[in-house]
């Protein structure tokens, strides 16, 4: 009898404890009330000169956020609301887009191209509005302010490729001779800056630096000039269309195969193979900061599922992976900021919220795996690149095939060079 009474008392106490603890349990995972959202601004060049990259990137950004909201319960329990705008790759539009994002109380904004971020960065830096660019160049965050790079920049591509070339391809004596062919904006000049800073140290001779426009239709003249200098390597930092033109012209001139062709990450995408043709670009090397489609990484299955479901034509495009990963990083930043600063601070959508996003979100990123889709994202003081590693790829039978594991790209303090930005 005594035991029975004891059991009843114990059961009542347990029940009372469970009832008392239940609210605490729900408090651990905050649940958003109706209307409580975390707002993010995203812009991509879905029309205009860079639409072949911007279009799949815009889709990936939005598809990933849909996945985060539908299957992960948003960021820290709050749904993410995206304000997406097409920049048209137009400087004046980008200037107004950033202001709109700030007006709409977005907590952070993203861009796809380094050019878009170049047009936006000063407005954002002045307001302390944090931004995250997929593709970046050193000029965007050197010296570091409020703009962050999702992945290594075009300069890091050059350094990684140069290292790989020296260790694995170069068999001659002395310094290999490299010719640079660069798009006439930050995409090309990121690589130029790295070459200026690192070529001497690595033991590479830069024999020429040529520029081309995004709309070039022939580079026979510049390549003929380059050919007379007998380069060992031709490095192109550009976008797919002009890269295809340059490689075709190099083939026509008999330079390639023969000269090693290396590409920065804005060049080596499925669009390049589609535009140039698989036989033309066969054997070309390139550096890219994400995995390839079909690789065995944890985040691949969901990304593939959403891509096939929502934008099946983008399947196989590596730019899609980049922007999908960008949205995952944004979600992680928001999650960390909710956890560390609280929703109330973020709800204001003002400069206080932006500071919280930076100090309690971005700068708290530590080894975030991004589903294995690219190198882990971490913040290091003084280095606004979040992911710092790339892989070298080669085009084999039309497929962009990885030939190395992740290679870390060291930080270069460009601002310490007197020529930087001049």
């Amino acid at each position: 009898m005594k035991n029975k009474r004891f059991l009843i008392v114990a059961a009542v106490i347990c029940l009372a404890l469970v009832v008392a603890i239940m609210p605490l349990g729900s408090a651990c995972a905050p649940k958003a009330k109706p209307g409580q959202v975390l707002k993010v601004g995203m812009t991509t060049p879905t029309t205009g000169a860079a639409a072949e990259k911007g279009s799949p990137m815009g889709h990936a950004n939005l598809d990933a956020i849909e996945y985060v909201n539908a299957e992960l319960g948003g960021a820290g329990g709050y749904p993410i609301e995206v304000s997406w705008l097409d920049s048209g790759y137009d400087a004046a539009k980008v200037a107004t887009i950033v202001k709109r994002f700030m007006d709409e109380k977005c907590l952070v904004f993203t861009t796809a191209s380094s050019a878009e971020m170049t047009w936006a960065m000063e407005i954002a830096n002045r307001a302390e509005f944090p931004g995250l660019a997929s593709f970046t160049a050193p000029s965007i965050y050197r010296p570091p302010k409020h703009i962050y790079g999702q992945m290594p920049d075009y300069g890091d591509d050059w350094t990684a490729f140069a290292n790989y070339y020296l260790k694995n391809i170069w068999k001659g004596s002395g310094k290999p001779k490299m010719a640079l062919h660069l798009l006439n904006n930050s995409t090309g000049y990121g690589a130029r800056d790295a070459a200026k800073a690192m070529a001497e140290k690595l033991g590479i001779e830069i024999i020429s630096t040529d520029e081309h426009t995004a709309t070039t239709i022939s580079e026979m003249e510049s390549l003929t000039r380059i050919k007379t200098k007998n380069p060992d390597v031709l490095y192109i930092s550009s976008t797919p269309k002009p890269t295809a033109v340059i490689i075709k012209n190099a083939r026509d001139l008999g330079m390639f195969p023969g000269v090693t062709v290396g590409l920065g990450h804005a060049s080596i995408t499925k669009a390049l193979v589609d535009i140039a043709g698989a036989d033309i670009v066969e054997g070309v090397y390139g550096v890219f900061p994400t995995v390839n489609w079909g690789d065995n990484v944890p985040g691949m299955a969901k990304m593939t599922e959403y891509c096939q479901k929502l934008h099946s034509k983008d399947y196989g495009n590596m730019d899609y992976i980049t922007s999908w990963a960008q949205s995952l990083i944004v979600a992680e930043i928001l999650k960390l900021a909710v956890k560390n600063a609280g929703y109330d601070v973020l709800a204001k959508g003002d400069v206080e919220s932006w500071r919280a996003i930076e100090t309690q979100g971005i700068q708290k990123l530590k080894d975030f795996k991004v589903g294995g889709l690219h190198g882990p994202a971490s913040y290091t003081v003084g280095d606004n690149r979040l992911s710092k590693s790339v892989r070298v790829f080669q085009i084999k039978k039309g497929a962009i095939t990885p030939i190395t594991d992740w290679v870390d790209a060291p930080m270069v303090k460009y601002e310490e060079f007197p020529w930087f930005g001049k």
Binding site: H59, A91, A92, A95, M102, T118, I123, K313, D314
Partner: protein, 350 residues
Amino acid sequence: MSLPCGTRDYTYDTDMAILRTRTHWVLLIGLLVFVFTLPLYLGNYWLGVSNLIGITLIAATGLNILIGYCGQLSIGHAGFIAVGAYTAAILTNRLELPFLVGLLCAGLTAGLIGLVFGIPSVRVKGFYLAITTIAAQFIIIWVINHWGITGGFVGIKVPYASIGGFVFKSEASQFYLITTIAILCTFLAKNLARTRVGRAFIAVRDNDLAAEVMGINLFYYKLLAFFIGCFLAGIAGSLLAHWVGFMNAEHFTLTESILYIGMIIIGGLGTTLGPILGVILIRLLQQVLMVQVVPFLESTFTALPAGFATGIAPMLFGLVIVLFLILEPRGLAHRWILLKSAYRLWPFSY
């Protein structure tokens, strides 16, 4: 200027005045009050759009003097704006000179560069002159990209505009600065058209041979039109540089130059009101398509091929411009005049 029935001018001063009736004054003051109180109702985004409209208006007014009044076709206007922007950027960033010095020098430098590219106008006109001004666009941008002091392809930072210790940091303060200068430039353009110089410009535009026979120095007046048009482009460039805070040559594309011509044609060539209406229409159309139409299309027509829905926006933009040119080839300013006449005569048809 046509006046309401019964209104007479009794002195030369009233005959020459821009605002000749009490209604004119009331409407102008009302408009100015509305414009200068915009920061009270608008957020930063719409103030930003207003600032972009103000800057574009200054440049378009310059182009209107060149094309609309003097008949000298220029397709390199964005290049001249770039000259102003980079002059201001270099003077205020690298040499740390005051904003007003940068602003004035931006106008003067762009004006002087305009003179250089305007010299062919003495020998060639029409499409031939257009081709020579396209050269200005390419040469200027090439120099900017390859000259170290401009920051090359990377670009150059530009500090906030400041006058006498007051820094124009907020969007609202920048709005007052840009709007004030835009109003002054419009006033200048309005008055210029009524002076001897303005009449000479119109004579050159309508028939340069006849103008020369009348004693108008073609060389002087054509180059003067280039100087004034490019001076205003330089002023616009300076304001753009301080507003955006960072300049690279991609702000000044050939497409922008062509868009400027589109704006003044749609607004109405050779009128002061034309550039105002054209600039407002085009800039607002761009924003509405970008902010409202594109996201709507992209989210609504998901079954369409990737990028198709978004691609409709530029098509719509082109269609609107084509329709304007077909339905109102003399520009919005002409439509406004018809509207005013109809209002005056109502209920009679003529």
